[in-house]
Point group: D2
Chain length 114, copies 4
Protein backbone atom coordinates (compact mmCIF):
# COMPACT_ATOMS: atom_id res chain seq x y z
CA UNK A 1 0.00 0.00 0.00
CA UNK A 2 1.25 3.51 -0.75
CA UNK A 3 2.07 5.93 2.07
CA UNK A 4 0.08 9.14 2.34
CA UNK A 5 3.07 11.05 0.97
CA UNK A 6 3.22 8.73 -2.06
CA UNK A 7 -0.50 9.19 -2.68
CA UNK A 8 -0.08 12.97 -2.35
CA UNK A 9 2.68 12.88 -4.98
CA UNK A 10 0.50 10.73 -7.28
CA UNK A 11 -2.30 13.29 -6.93
CA UNK A 12 0.08 16.16 -7.76
CA UNK A 13 1.23 14.30 -10.86
CA UNK A 14 -2.36 13.88 -12.06
CA UNK A 15 -2.83 17.65 -11.82
CA UNK A 16 0.30 18.33 -13.87
CA UNK A 17 -0.68 15.86 -16.58
CA UNK A 18 -4.08 17.54 -16.69
CA UNK A 19 -2.66 21.07 -16.85
CA UNK A 20 -0.35 20.14 -19.69
CA UNK A 21 -2.55 17.98 -21.88
CA UNK A 22 -5.80 19.85 -21.39
CA UNK A 23 -4.46 23.26 -22.32
CA UNK A 24 -1.48 22.89 -24.67
CA UNK A 25 -2.68 23.61 -28.19
CA UNK A 26 -4.80 26.59 -27.11
CA UNK A 27 -4.44 29.60 -29.47
CA UNK A 28 -2.77 32.34 -27.41
CA UNK A 29 -1.27 35.82 -27.82
CA UNK A 30 -0.05 38.51 -25.40
CA UNK A 31 -3.56 39.89 -24.84
CA UNK A 32 -5.20 36.55 -24.08
CA UNK A 33 -2.36 35.04 -22.02
CA UNK A 34 -3.39 36.51 -18.62
CA UNK A 35 -6.97 35.27 -18.90
CA UNK A 36 -5.77 31.84 -20.00
CA UNK A 37 -3.31 31.62 -17.08
CA UNK A 38 -6.14 32.41 -14.70
CA UNK A 39 -8.54 29.89 -16.26
CA UNK A 40 -5.86 27.20 -16.08
CA UNK A 41 -5.20 27.91 -12.39
CA UNK A 42 -8.90 27.81 -11.50
CA UNK A 43 -9.46 24.63 -13.50
CA UNK A 44 -6.70 22.74 -11.71
CA UNK A 45 -7.71 24.09 -8.29
CA UNK A 46 -11.08 22.41 -8.84
CA UNK A 47 -9.40 19.01 -8.72
CA UNK A 48 -9.30 17.02 -5.47
CA UNK A 49 -6.63 17.94 -2.86
CA UNK A 50 -5.22 20.82 -4.97
CA UNK A 51 -4.84 23.90 -2.75
CA UNK A 52 -2.96 26.07 -5.21
CA UNK A 53 -2.01 26.25 -8.86
CA UNK A 54 0.01 29.09 -10.36
CA UNK A 55 0.65 29.37 -14.08
CA UNK A 56 2.86 31.83 -15.95
CA UNK A 57 2.92 32.00 -19.73
CA UNK A 58 6.36 33.54 -20.13
CA UNK A 59 6.10 36.78 -22.13
CA UNK A 60 9.64 36.53 -23.46
CA UNK A 61 9.14 33.03 -24.79
CA UNK A 62 5.66 33.86 -26.11
CA UNK A 63 7.22 36.73 -28.01
CA UNK A 64 9.68 34.38 -29.70
CA UNK A 65 6.98 31.81 -30.43
CA UNK A 66 4.59 34.23 -32.14
CA UNK A 67 5.19 34.62 -35.86
CA UNK A 68 4.22 38.28 -36.51
CA UNK A 69 2.66 37.24 -39.84
CA UNK A 70 0.25 34.98 -37.91
CA UNK A 71 -0.18 37.07 -34.72
CA UNK A 72 -0.65 34.23 -32.24
CA UNK A 73 0.74 30.80 -31.43
CA UNK A 74 -0.44 27.61 -29.75
CA UNK A 75 0.28 27.15 -26.08
CA UNK A 76 3.15 24.69 -25.64
CA UNK A 77 4.87 23.31 -22.57
CA UNK A 78 8.09 25.27 -23.06
CA UNK A 79 6.12 28.55 -22.82
CA UNK A 80 4.96 27.69 -19.30
CA UNK A 81 6.24 27.93 -15.75
CA UNK A 82 3.83 26.36 -13.28
CA UNK A 83 3.55 25.37 -9.65
CA UNK A 84 0.97 23.05 -8.09
CA UNK A 85 0.42 22.38 -4.38
CA UNK A 86 -1.48 19.35 -3.10
CA UNK A 87 -2.54 18.64 0.48
CA UNK A 88 -3.50 15.07 1.35
CA UNK A 89 -3.92 13.66 4.85
CA UNK A 90 -1.65 16.23 6.47
CA UNK A 91 1.03 16.01 3.78
CA UNK A 92 1.78 19.09 1.66
CA UNK A 93 3.49 18.49 -1.68
CA UNK A 94 4.93 21.34 -3.76
CA UNK A 95 5.59 20.57 -7.42
CA UNK A 96 6.89 22.70 -10.29
CA UNK A 97 7.35 22.67 -14.05
CA UNK A 98 10.16 24.72 -15.56
CA UNK A 99 12.17 24.68 -18.74
CA UNK A 100 15.36 22.69 -18.31
CA UNK A 101 17.68 22.43 -21.31
CA UNK A 102 14.78 23.21 -23.62
CA UNK A 103 12.51 20.56 -22.15
CA UNK A 104 9.60 21.36 -19.78
CA UNK A 105 10.49 19.32 -16.71
CA UNK A 106 8.04 18.54 -13.91
CA UNK A 107 9.38 17.68 -10.47
CA UNK A 108 8.48 17.34 -6.81
CA UNK A 109 10.12 20.21 -4.90
CA UNK A 110 9.16 19.26 -1.35
CA UNK A 111 7.08 16.84 0.69
CA UNK A 112 6.18 18.28 4.09
CA UNK A 113 4.59 16.43 6.96
CA UNK A 114 2.43 18.57 9.20
Amino acid sequence: MPTDAETACFEAGIKFGTLYHQFTGTPVDHDSAPGLEHAMEEAIENQPYCTNASVTIREDRLDEAIDPAVGYTELQGPLLDAGITVEYEGITVHTRMELEEGYPRMRVESVERE
Copy 2:
Protein backbone atom coordinates in the same frame (compact mmCIF):
# COMPACT_ATOMS: atom_id res chain seq x y z
CA MET B 1 -12.58 25.77 -56.34
CA PRO B 2 -14.61 26.83 -53.32
CA THR B 3 -16.46 30.16 -53.30
CA ASP B 4 -15.50 32.75 -50.69
CA ALA B 5 -18.68 31.91 -48.77
CA GLU B 6 -17.76 28.21 -48.74
CA THR B 7 -14.26 29.02 -47.48
CA ALA B 8 -15.76 31.29 -44.80
CA CYS B 9 -18.00 28.42 -43.64
CA PHE B 10 -15.01 26.03 -43.59
CA GLU B 11 -13.12 28.53 -41.43
CA ALA B 12 -16.06 28.84 -39.03
CA GLY B 13 -16.21 25.05 -38.72
CA ILE B 14 -12.52 24.89 -37.81
CA LYS B 15 -13.14 27.32 -34.96
CA PHE B 16 -16.04 25.24 -33.61
CA GLY B 17 -14.05 22.01 -33.75
CA THR B 18 -11.25 23.83 -31.90
CA LEU B 19 -13.55 25.29 -29.24
CA TYR B 20 -15.11 21.93 -28.56
CA HIS B 21 -12.11 19.61 -28.59
CA GLN B 22 -9.60 21.96 -26.98
CA PHE B 23 -11.70 22.76 -23.93
CA THR B 24 -14.10 19.92 -23.20
CA GLY B 25 -12.68 17.91 -20.32
CA THR B 26 -11.64 21.03 -18.36
CA PRO B 27 -12.50 20.77 -14.63
CA VAL B 28 -15.14 23.45 -13.99
CA ASP B 29 -17.47 24.68 -11.24
CA HIS B 30 -19.70 27.73 -10.80
CA ASP B 31 -16.84 29.94 -9.59
CA SER B 32 -14.45 29.10 -12.41
CA ALA B 33 -17.02 29.05 -15.25
CA PRO B 34 -16.92 32.82 -16.06
CA GLY B 35 -13.13 32.89 -16.35
CA LEU B 36 -13.16 29.77 -18.51
CA GLU B 37 -15.85 31.23 -20.81
CA HIS B 38 -13.71 34.32 -21.26
CA ALA B 39 -10.51 32.36 -21.93
CA MET B 40 -12.34 30.22 -24.51
CA GLU B 41 -13.66 33.32 -26.29
CA GLU B 42 -10.26 34.98 -26.41
CA ALA B 43 -8.55 31.80 -27.59
CA ILE B 44 -10.90 31.36 -30.54
CA GLU B 45 -10.79 35.07 -31.44
CA ASN B 46 -7.04 34.63 -31.94
CA GLN B 47 -7.70 32.34 -34.89
CA PRO B 48 -7.70 33.72 -38.45
CA TYR B 49 -10.85 35.52 -39.70
CA CYS B 50 -12.70 35.11 -36.38
CA THR B 51 -14.23 38.46 -35.40
CA ASN B 52 -16.28 37.26 -32.45
CA ALA B 53 -16.73 34.24 -30.20
CA SER B 54 -19.23 34.12 -27.35
CA VAL B 55 -19.40 31.21 -24.95
CA THR B 56 -21.93 30.52 -22.20
CA ILE B 57 -21.51 27.66 -19.76
CA ARG B 58 -25.16 27.25 -18.79
CA GLU B 59 -25.53 27.59 -15.01
CA ASP B 60 -28.65 25.43 -14.87
CA ARG B 61 -26.99 22.54 -16.71
CA LEU B 62 -23.75 22.98 -14.78
CA ASP B 63 -25.76 22.67 -11.61
CA GLU B 64 -27.23 19.35 -12.73
CA ALA B 65 -23.83 18.08 -13.90
CA ILE B 66 -21.99 18.79 -10.65
CA ASP B 67 -22.15 15.94 -8.14
CA PRO B 68 -22.16 17.76 -4.76
CA ALA B 69 -19.92 15.02 -3.33
CA VAL B 70 -17.27 15.94 -5.93
CA GLY B 71 -17.90 19.70 -6.20
CA TYR B 72 -17.01 20.17 -9.87
CA THR B 73 -17.48 18.49 -13.22
CA GLU B 74 -15.69 18.33 -16.56
CA LEU B 75 -16.78 20.72 -19.28
CA GLN B 76 -18.87 18.88 -21.85
CA GLY B 77 -20.54 20.01 -25.07
CA PRO B 78 -24.09 19.83 -23.67
CA LEU B 79 -23.16 22.42 -20.99
CA LEU B 80 -22.31 25.00 -23.66
CA ASP B 81 -24.09 27.53 -25.82
CA ALA B 82 -21.70 29.25 -28.21
CA GLY B 83 -21.66 31.59 -31.18
CA ILE B 84 -18.78 32.21 -33.59
CA THR B 85 -18.58 34.87 -36.31
CA VAL B 86 -16.11 34.69 -39.18
CA GLU B 87 -15.39 37.36 -41.79
CA TYR B 88 -13.61 36.31 -44.96
CA GLU B 89 -13.30 38.36 -48.16
CA GLY B 90 -16.40 40.44 -47.48
CA ILE B 91 -18.52 37.46 -46.36
CA THR B 92 -19.80 37.33 -42.77
CA VAL B 93 -20.79 33.92 -41.42
CA HIS B 94 -22.66 33.52 -38.13
CA THR B 95 -22.57 30.05 -36.57
CA ARG B 96 -24.00 28.66 -33.33
CA MET B 97 -23.90 25.60 -31.11
CA GLU B 98 -26.94 24.79 -28.99
CA LEU B 99 -28.40 21.75 -27.35
CA GLU B 100 -30.95 20.07 -29.61
CA GLU B 101 -32.68 16.95 -28.29
CA GLY B 102 -29.79 16.39 -25.87
CA TYR B 103 -27.11 16.68 -28.52
CA PRO B 104 -24.91 19.78 -28.94
CA ARG B 105 -25.61 20.76 -32.52
CA MET B 106 -23.44 23.18 -34.51
CA ARG B 107 -24.95 25.00 -37.48
CA VAL B 108 -24.51 27.91 -39.86
CA GLU B 109 -27.11 30.55 -39.03
CA SER B 110 -26.43 33.04 -41.81
CA VAL B 111 -24.07 33.82 -44.66
CA GLU B 112 -24.08 37.53 -45.50
CA ARG B 113 -22.45 39.17 -48.48
CA GLU B 114 -21.32 42.74 -47.89
Copy 3:
Protein backbone atom coordinates in the same frame (compact mmCIF):
# COMPACT_ATOMS: atom_id res chain seq x y z
CA MET C 1 -29.72 30.39 -44.96
CA PRO C 2 -26.56 28.54 -46.01
CA THR C 3 -26.48 26.49 -49.21
CA ASP C 4 -25.84 22.74 -48.93
CA ALA C 5 -22.30 23.33 -50.18
CA GLU C 6 -21.68 25.93 -47.47
CA THR C 7 -23.00 23.56 -44.81
CA ALA C 8 -20.80 20.79 -46.19
CA CYS C 9 -17.75 23.08 -45.90
CA PHE C 10 -18.72 24.02 -42.34
CA GLU C 11 -18.94 20.32 -41.47
CA ALA C 12 -15.51 19.66 -42.99
CA GLY C 13 -14.05 22.51 -40.94
CA ILE C 14 -15.45 21.03 -37.72
CA LYS C 15 -13.67 17.75 -38.50
CA PHE C 16 -10.34 19.53 -39.06
CA GLY C 17 -10.63 21.52 -35.84
CA THR C 18 -11.38 18.25 -34.05
CA LEU C 19 -8.48 16.37 -35.62
CA TYR C 20 -6.03 19.10 -34.71
CA HIS C 21 -7.10 20.03 -31.20
CA GLN C 22 -8.04 16.55 -30.00
CA PHE C 23 -4.77 14.90 -30.94
CA THR C 24 -1.96 17.46 -30.94
CA GLY C 25 0.00 17.04 -27.73
CA THR C 26 -0.04 13.22 -27.93
CA PRO C 27 3.34 11.65 -27.08
CA VAL C 28 4.54 10.01 -30.31
CA ASP C 29 7.61 8.26 -31.75
CA HIS C 30 8.31 6.30 -34.94
CA ASP C 31 6.91 3.04 -33.52
CA SER C 32 3.64 4.52 -32.29
CA ALA C 33 3.00 6.87 -35.23
CA PRO C 34 1.19 4.33 -37.49
CA GLY C 35 -1.25 3.29 -34.75
CA LEU C 36 -1.93 6.91 -33.88
CA GLU C 37 -2.56 7.83 -37.53
CA HIS C 38 -5.06 5.00 -37.76
CA ALA C 39 -6.83 5.94 -34.50
CA MET C 40 -7.08 9.55 -35.66
CA GLU C 41 -8.60 8.51 -39.00
CA GLU C 42 -11.16 6.25 -37.36
CA ALA C 43 -12.08 8.86 -34.76
CA ILE C 44 -12.82 11.51 -37.38
CA GLU C 45 -14.69 9.07 -39.64
CA ASN C 46 -17.10 8.55 -36.74
CA GLN C 47 -18.28 12.15 -37.07
CA PRO C 48 -21.39 13.00 -39.11
CA TYR C 49 -21.05 13.20 -42.93
CA CYS C 50 -17.34 12.27 -42.90
CA THR C 51 -16.73 9.60 -45.52
CA ASN C 52 -12.94 9.55 -45.36
CA ALA C 53 -10.07 10.82 -43.24
CA SER C 54 -6.42 10.14 -44.04
CA VAL C 55 -3.62 11.16 -41.72
CA THR C 56 0.14 10.97 -42.26
CA ILE C 57 2.61 11.75 -39.51
CA ARG C 58 5.56 12.66 -41.70
CA GLU C 59 8.53 10.47 -40.80
CA ASP C 60 11.09 13.02 -41.96
CA ARG C 61 9.63 15.77 -39.79
CA LEU C 62 9.08 13.41 -36.86
CA ASP C 63 12.74 12.54 -37.08
CA GLU C 64 13.73 16.20 -36.79
CA ALA C 65 11.27 16.79 -33.95
CA ILE C 66 12.47 13.91 -31.75
CA ASP C 67 15.32 14.84 -29.43
CA PRO C 68 17.32 11.56 -29.20
CA ALA C 69 17.93 12.26 -25.49
CA VAL C 70 14.16 12.17 -24.93
CA GLY C 71 13.17 9.56 -27.52
CA TYR C 72 9.75 10.92 -28.44
CA THR C 73 7.98 14.18 -29.11
CA GLU C 74 4.47 15.58 -28.88
CA LEU C 75 2.32 15.51 -31.98
CA GLN C 76 2.15 18.98 -33.50
CA GLY C 77 0.34 20.35 -36.54
CA PRO C 78 3.49 20.80 -38.63
CA LEU C 79 4.20 17.04 -38.36
CA LEU C 80 0.91 16.20 -40.08
CA ASP C 81 -0.47 15.94 -43.59
CA ALA C 82 -4.17 15.16 -43.58
CA GLY C 83 -7.16 14.91 -45.89
CA ILE C 84 -10.83 14.87 -44.92
CA THR C 85 -13.81 14.19 -47.20
CA VAL C 86 -17.35 15.15 -46.27
CA GLU C 87 -20.56 14.26 -48.12
CA TYR C 88 -23.66 16.27 -47.35
CA GLU C 89 -26.88 16.32 -49.38
CA GLY C 90 -25.20 15.26 -52.61
CA ILE C 91 -22.24 17.61 -52.20
CA THR C 92 -18.74 16.15 -51.80
CA VAL C 93 -16.11 18.38 -50.21
CA HIS C 94 -12.41 17.48 -50.22
CA THR C 95 -10.24 19.32 -47.71
CA ARG C 96 -6.54 19.09 -46.86
CA MET C 97 -4.01 20.25 -44.32
CA GLU C 98 -0.39 20.66 -45.40
CA LEU C 99 2.64 22.59 -44.26
CA GLU C 100 2.90 25.91 -46.11
CA GLU C 101 5.85 28.17 -45.23
CA GLY C 102 6.18 26.42 -41.87
CA TYR C 103 2.53 26.81 -40.95
CA PRO C 104 0.00 23.93 -41.12
CA ARG C 105 -2.60 25.33 -43.48
CA MET C 106 -6.11 23.85 -43.87
CA ARG C 107 -8.02 24.49 -47.08
CA VAL C 108 -10.96 23.37 -49.19
CA GLU C 109 -9.63 21.64 -52.29
CA SER C 110 -12.87 21.01 -54.15
CA VAL C 111 -16.64 21.21 -53.82
CA GLU C 112 -18.38 18.77 -56.15
CA ARG C 113 -22.07 18.64 -56.89
CA GLU C 114 -23.36 15.18 -57.76
Copy 4:
Protein backbone atom coordinates in the same frame (compact mmCIF):
# COMPACT_ATOMS: atom_id res chain seq x y z
CA MET D 1 13.50 16.22 -1.05
CA PRO D 2 11.13 13.51 -2.26
CA THR D 3 12.04 9.84 -1.91
CA ASP D 4 12.44 7.76 -5.08
CA ALA D 5 9.10 6.12 -4.34
CA GLU D 6 7.41 9.53 -4.07
CA THR D 7 8.95 10.63 -7.36
CA ALA D 8 7.81 7.37 -8.98
CA CYS D 9 4.25 8.03 -7.79
CA PHE D 10 4.41 11.62 -9.11
CA GLU D 11 5.52 10.27 -12.50
CA ALA D 12 2.67 7.75 -12.54
CA GLY D 13 0.20 10.55 -11.78
CA ILE D 14 1.50 12.60 -14.72
CA LYS D 15 0.82 9.66 -17.04
CA PHE D 16 -2.76 9.29 -15.77
CA GLY D 17 -3.49 13.00 -16.16
CA THR D 18 -2.11 12.77 -19.69
CA LEU D 19 -4.12 9.67 -20.59
CA TYR D 20 -7.32 11.23 -19.36
CA HIS D 21 -7.06 14.79 -20.65
CA GLN D 22 -5.37 14.02 -23.95
CA PHE D 23 -7.88 11.46 -25.12
CA THR D 24 -11.27 12.10 -23.52
CA GLY D 25 -13.46 13.83 -26.09
CA THR D 26 -12.32 11.54 -28.93
CA PRO D 27 -15.22 10.37 -31.14
CA VAL D 28 -15.46 6.58 -30.63
CA ASP D 29 -17.69 3.63 -31.53
CA HIS D 30 -17.37 -0.15 -31.20
CA ASP D 31 -15.31 -0.48 -34.39
CA SER D 32 -12.79 2.22 -33.54
CA ALA D 33 -12.42 1.43 -29.84
CA PRO D 34 -9.69 -1.26 -30.18
CA GLY D 35 -7.45 0.97 -32.32
CA LEU D 36 -7.95 3.87 -29.94
CA GLU D 37 -7.10 1.73 -26.90
CA HIS D 38 -3.90 0.66 -28.62
CA ALA D 39 -2.93 4.21 -29.63
CA MET D 40 -3.53 5.41 -26.07
CA GLU D 41 -1.34 2.65 -24.64
CA GLU D 42 1.51 3.36 -27.05
CA ALA D 43 1.29 7.12 -26.46
CA ILE D 44 1.62 6.78 -22.70
CA GLU D 45 4.37 4.17 -22.97
CA ASN D 46 6.41 6.82 -24.82
CA GLN D 47 6.57 8.90 -21.65
CA PRO D 48 9.58 8.66 -19.29
CA TYR D 49 9.73 5.72 -16.84
CA CYS D 50 6.45 4.18 -18.10
CA THR D 51 6.98 0.46 -18.66
CA ASN D 52 3.37 -0.49 -19.32
CA ALA D 53 0.00 1.06 -20.03
CA SER D 54 -3.16 -0.95 -20.58
CA VAL D 55 -6.44 0.64 -21.60
CA THR D 56 -9.87 -0.94 -21.93
CA ILE D 57 -12.83 0.96 -23.36
CA ARG D 58 -15.57 -1.07 -21.71
CA GLU D 59 -17.93 -2.43 -24.39
CA ASP D 60 -20.90 -2.60 -22.06
CA ARG D 61 -20.56 1.03 -21.03
CA LEU D 62 -19.80 2.14 -24.59
CA ASP D 63 -23.01 0.46 -25.65
CA GLU D 64 -25.00 2.46 -23.13
CA ALA D 65 -23.23 5.70 -24.05
CA ILE D 66 -23.87 5.46 -27.80
CA ASP D 67 -27.16 6.99 -28.90
CA PRO D 68 -28.19 4.76 -31.86
CA ALA D 69 -29.48 7.87 -33.67
CA VAL D 70 -25.95 9.31 -33.58
CA GLY D 71 -23.93 6.08 -33.88
CA TYR D 72 -20.92 7.09 -31.78
CA THR D 73 -20.06 8.91 -28.58
CA GLU D 74 -17.15 10.87 -27.15
CA LEU D 75 -14.64 9.01 -25.00
CA GLN D 76 -15.23 9.83 -21.34
CA GLY D 77 -13.48 8.73 -18.18
CA PRO D 78 -16.31 6.48 -16.98
CA LEU D 79 -15.97 4.38 -20.17
CA LEU D 80 -12.38 3.48 -19.31
CA ASP D 81 -10.51 0.99 -17.17
CA ALA D 82 -6.77 1.61 -17.25
CA GLY D 83 -3.55 0.50 -15.62
CA ILE D 84 -0.18 2.26 -15.74
CA THR D 85 3.16 0.93 -14.46
CA VAL D 86 6.13 3.19 -13.79
CA GLU D 87 9.68 2.13 -12.91
CA TYR D 88 11.97 4.74 -11.39
CA GLU D 89 15.30 4.08 -9.66
CA GLY D 90 14.43 0.51 -8.74
CA ILE D 91 10.91 1.31 -7.57
CA THR D 92 7.94 -0.17 -9.43
CA VAL D 93 4.60 1.59 -9.03
CA HIS D 94 1.33 0.05 -10.24
CA THR D 95 -1.60 2.44 -10.65
CA ARG D 96 -5.17 1.92 -11.87
CA MET D 97 -8.25 3.85 -12.86
CA GLU D 98 -11.65 2.23 -12.40
CA LEU D 99 -15.21 3.36 -12.01
CA GLU D 100 -16.13 3.72 -8.34
CA GLU D 101 -19.66 4.85 -7.54
CA GLY D 102 -19.97 6.39 -10.99
CA TYR D 103 -16.73 8.34 -10.73
CA PRO D 104 -13.51 7.29 -12.53
CA ARG D 105 -11.09 6.98 -9.62
CA MET D 106 -7.31 6.81 -10.05
CA ARG D 107 -5.23 5.22 -7.34
CA VAL D 108 -1.83 3.76 -6.50
CA GLU D 109 -2.19 0.00 -6.13
CA SER D 110 1.33 -0.88 -5.03
CA VAL D 111 4.80 0.52 -4.55
CA GLU D 112 7.46 -2.17 -4.78
CA ARG D 113 11.13 -1.80 -3.92
CA GLU D 114 13.43 -4.05 -5.93
